[in-house]
């Protein structure tokens, strides 16, 4: 569903993403891990068409820049940024209209209730706390029922109830056959549901593997530290792999 081929993103001389290829299939819950500055957010923004890049990205059967690709793609940004002067319910209406959705009202209501925003429908974007802004961002992402969802640090700022709801929603999406790619530093938050992990360092994916590729008794966290481990590994990831 999400197919990245030889993606390179440079800022001047600095290479933020270096020849990255990865694939997230339908019904797959993929996790993007890596230390700060590894290039995860850059990769995500490139996939979502927010950055220019070299290489190819396809969402479903479509090039990521096409309207067909955008129609089936959902994105939750790292920093929530609602429209300050639109209310919560107007955000839902705006997304419904922009995506040309039909019969969306009940879905919107369900989402707002699920994330405890139903009683705040008349609140303006600027009046929301950071956590609530994150919730409205989640609702905006979820309303068009994306077939491929990309979430950048989705749990930051959420209360425990919303964390539980978001995790359960992503699990439902996986079971419905949607592709989910989550970038996070909170490894334990994805430990239950992940299918594939892509570990990034210094702009490259240094390890991609499925859950069944883990050694007996090895956890995702242990895998992560075995790859990114100490200072030596951080300086020379290639050497560590060898």
């Amino acid at each position: 569903m999400i197919n990245v081929q030889k993606l390179t993103k440079k800022y001047g001389k600095f290479t933020a993403n270096d020849n990255i290829s990865l694939h997230v299939g339908a019904g797959e819950f993929a996790v993007l891990l890596g230390p700060n500055g590894a290039g995860k957010s850059t990769l995500i923004k490139s996939i979502c068409g927010l950055l220019r890049f070299q290489g190819s990205i396809r969402i479903g059967k479509h090039d990521s820049h096409t309207t067909e690709a955008k129609r089936i793609l959902g994105y939750l940004p790292e920093m929530p940024a609602p429209y300050p002067m639109l209310t919560v319910s107007e955000h839902m209406e705006f997304i419904a209209r922009a995506y040309r959705l039909t019969d969306w009202e009940q879905d919107a209501q369900r989402l707002l209730e699920r994330f405890e925003l139903a009683d705040k429908q008349k609140k303006l974007g600027k009046e929301l706390s950071k956590g609530m802004q994150q919730k409205i961002s989640i609702c905006c992402m979820a309303l068009p029922k994306p077939q491929a969802a990309i979430l950048d640090e989705p749990l930051v700022g959420l209360d425990p109830y919303a964390i539980r709801e978001l995790k359960s929603m992503l699990l439902e999406w996986k079971q419905e056959g949607r592709a989910v790619l989550v970038s996070t530093h909170m490894i334990e938050s994805v430990a239950e549901n992940w299918d594939t992990v892509h570990i990034m360092m210094q702009g490259r994916v240094v390890r991609s593997c499925g859950r069944n590729a883990l050694a007996e008794g090895e956890s995702l966290e242990q895998l992560y530290f075995s790859i990114t481990g100490g200072a030596d590994a951080a300086e020379d990831p290639e050497a560590r792999h060898e």
Binding site: C48, M79, Y83, M85, L86, R100, C140
Partner: protein, 527 residues
């Protein structure tokens, strides 16, 4: 080495190194310097050809109004969050360090000086305009220097007001009363001159020479000091510049030696500035997001379908942001400027002068439109619609706003000047199409640069481009204006200019078609 000196020198060194490491920025700085030098040379050349100069009191009035505006903004902030010349890094690292608060204040003042330097930099580009008054580059430097000093004093006034009035409504009322008492005599004198029915220019000439205006702190002193330096009246210059310097010292001592440290007085403003900067880095709608103004939500809902939903959401936001719908604070500023310009030229002027002034202001304010802001949020990139359609719909609100604004501003200006309706319509059309052209130039620049440049540099490039793109239309328009006499000539000139604006805007829009596909969404612009 002293820690403060270390910070200052290291920051300067790193800034220079960054300039060298980023050739694009270096080229731009060199271009800027070249532009400045060319301007000075041109002004020297054209200066010698002039037979008669404009009256100096007009320049005096403009400089006074300019200083008064900056001072009042600073004073206003003193009543709310205060002002700051510190960054959050100073609060976190310097304020808690064992460096004396007095030394840190001196460091803060040096920072405020550099801020004033940047804010006043545009004065240097007025060399050509000031030549009309017989003021050479030396005079421009004097204006620049006095502006910097006045700005530092207004920053200090702001902090001092905050320090004295914070948390006490009674003190706020007292401070407001003192400020009113300073301004009222000048206002009363202006009203008396108006009631006497003196010609506008005579009123202005008398006003700028009145003791009640010259004596107004910061603005009056700055105006008088600058003009005295330019005309070689050294005694007056020493008095007024001396007053500014003296009060800078007095307020600095007052702030540094109060009963409590001044850190608290600048903390709120520093935090607000920091939050604003952070919010801007992730969302340019920061000003709306950060103001604490309570907004009443009455009518709700967003219209449109597909890309047009962007336009309707902007309209909804606009109506919420401003009590008067499409008219906002900028409209009021435009209206005041247009009324003032029309009033002072009502005997033999036309609405070309207000149009000219407001078009210059429009270059700065066009970025306030929702269309430009939209590019800083992810929604427009993800909405499944053709990119060019999204771009057009997202800028339509600015065009509609310009039309409404143009009708009001030039309607009023035209009425004061008794311009024929066709000329007023010409001014409105020129204004609206200029807004469109600026949006198009902005999009084109974002398209060319991939939005991967510093906001300041982008603005400067855009500013210069706006001038050069207008030239092919402005030159024949000016020729037409001089060839055909009277209002007909001016109306025809505006027609030519409008036509050029339309063509140039369409070309720029066509060239920036792929903007949403071939640009990086801007982030962290205020580097």
């Amino acid at each position: 080495m002293n820690s403060l000196l270390y910070i200052v020198t290291r920051e300067m060194k790193n800034t220079l190194l960054e300039l060298v490491r980023k050739p694009a920025r270096l080229i731009l700085v060199l271009l800027l310097v070249a532009f400045l030098v060319a301007m000075i040379l041109v002004s020297m050349f054209t200066g010698s050809m002039m037979e008669e100069y404009a009256d100096l009191f007009l320049l005096k009035g403009i400089f006074f109004a300019f200083l008064l505006l900056f001072t009042l903004i600073a004073v206003r902030s003193g009543f709310t969050a205060g002002n700051t010349f510190f960054g959050m890094e100073d609060v976190n690292l310097l304020f808690v360090s064992p460096v004396s608060a007095g030394k840190i204040l001196v460091y803060g003042l040096a920072r405020s000086m550099s801020r004033a330097f940047l804010m006043g930099f545009f004065i240097l580009f007025q060399t050509n305009s000031l030549r009309l008054f017989g003021v050479g580059f030396g005079g421009v430097l004097i204006f620049f220097f006095v502006f910097m000093l006045s700005l530092v004093l207004s920053f200090l006034c702001s902090v001092a007001i905050y320090r004295r009035t914070n948390g006490s409504e009674r003190r706020k009322v007292t401070a407001a009363a003192i400020i009113a008492a300073i301004l009222v005599p000048a206002a009363v004198y202006a009203v008396l001159l108006l009631l006497r029915g003196d010609p506008p220019m005579q009123i202005l000439a008398r006003l700028v020479d009145a003791p009640s205006v010259r004596g107004i702190p910061v603005a009056g002193w700055g105006m008088e000091g600058a003009m005295a330096l330019i005309t070689g009246d050294w005694g007056t210059a020493v008095i007024f510049i001396g007053l500014i310097v003296f009060f800078i010292a007095v307020l600095a001592v007052f702030i540094a030696n109060g009963r409590s440290e001044y850190y608290e007085d600048v903390l709120a403003a520093t935090e607000t500035a920091f939050e604003r900067r952070r919010a801007l880095e992730r969302n340019v709608n920061a000003s709306a997001a950060l103001d604490g103004k309570k907004v009443r939500v009455a009518k709700t809902g967003v219209g449109g379908i597909g890309a047009s939903a962007i336009f309707y959401s902007h309209i909804r936001e606009s109506l919420r942001e401003n009590r008067f719908g499409m008219f906002n604070r900028i409209t009021v500023i435009y209206l005041l400027v247009a009324v003032a310009a029309s009033f002072f030229t009502r005997e033999n002027g036309s609405c070309v002068l207000p149009l000219q002034i407001i078009m210059w202001m429009q270059v700065i304010y066009i970025g306030q439109g929702h269309g430009v802001k939209e590019l800083y949020m992810h929604f427009i990139y993800l909405i499944p619609e053709p990119p060019f359609r999204k771009l057009l719909w997202s800028n339509l609100e600015t065009a509609v706003r310009s039309l409404v604004e143009g009708i009001l501003v030039f309607g009023v200006a035209g009425a004061i000047l008794r311009d024929p309706p066709l000329l007023i319509i010409g001014a409105v059309v020129t204004y609206v199409l200029f807004s469109l052209l600026l949006i198009a130039v902005n999009c084109l620049f974002l398209r060319w640069t991939g939005m991967n440049v510093n906001a300041g540099i982008l603005f400067l490039l855009y500013y210069l481009a706006a001038i050069f793109i207008m030239l092919p239309g402005a030159i024949p328009a000016v020729i037409m204006g001089y060839t055909v006499a009277g209002d007909a000539g001016i109306t025809l000139a505006l027609g030519i200019l409008s036509l050029w604006e339309l063509i140039a805007a369409l070309v720029c829009f066509a060239l920036s078609r792929g903007i949403l596909h071939s640009c990086d969404m801007p982030a962290g612009r205020l580097r």
